[in-house]
Assembly symmetry: C2
Homo-oligomer: 146 residues x 2
């Protein structure tokens, strides 16, 4: 699955993501970058809206897990179980969420667990960045269920 196919899937599965302007900017086997335009997601103080920041972050996580599932022929639904977010600094431009699965063991365990139990969980740390600075951090726990 490439970035364009994944974006089409996201817009189909979760229609409100079109209104938010969610865009899959980059996708590899184990990393993703998702963006959304500032104008659509700003508040009156001219900073990004907290709800949009969270949503762009969760879409990055959901999309990465969906892509991993598709690439490994794991047939299931990706569900967000719980999450926490810390807003460290205001975001003054486009929203950019990045997530990379650096831990190969975590990844292998996730795939093996699903193949064995038809159910697996994974914790992702998603960074909301602007000009190289982390403005918010989202920790999200996803389940893949058959």
């Amino acid at each position: 699955m490439n970035a364009q196919q994944l974006e089409t899937l996201v817009h189909q599965e979760i229609p409100i993501t079109k209104a938010l302007g969610i865009h899959i900017a980059e996708l590899t086997q184990q990393s993703i970058r998702v963006t959304a335009p500032f104008e659509t997601n700003k508040n009156i103080h001219n900073t990004a809206f907290a709800g949009s920041i969270y949503t762009v972050g969760t879409i990055a996580g959901w999309s990465l897990v969906s892509s991993i599932a598709a690439n490994n022929q794991l047939k299931g639904s990706v569900v967000l179980a719980k999450a926490d977010i810390q807003y460290k600094k205001p975001i003054n431009g486009d929203l950019i969420a990045e997530c990379a699965l650096d831990d190969h063991q975590l990844f292998d365990k996730f795939v093996a667990s699903f193949k064995r139990k038809k159910r697996a969980r994974i914790n992702l740390s998603i960074q909301l960045r602007e000009d190289g600075v982390t403005k918010a951090i989202l920790n999200a726990n996803f389940a893949l269920v058959s």
Copy 2:
């Protein structure tokens, strides 16, 4: 400030809330109920989208704190500092977020702290309910800053 005035304020301050269909259904001095339509916020599995659930919850909290500030002549901006959410069960209909400030001491402390320091924080527990069942719980920490 009544529910209609607060809804107008929310739509002005955070434009994307109009696209989400955010509606202030009920407002008292210390409680709020915020809704959003299912059709706009559903995913392809016919359940409410996790990002929308979070956003409706944070809008309930943001709106209640903004209303308390206005009613107590506290002039400042309401900012979400951090939050965590637990999705317990799928939501199959309209999104309904409820929050009530049951603890009077917490409320008094918040108002007194802002009057003294021009800055105050408050933790809110926001329930996402359907047919009387709590489907998700959002804990959100808001700051009021002058």
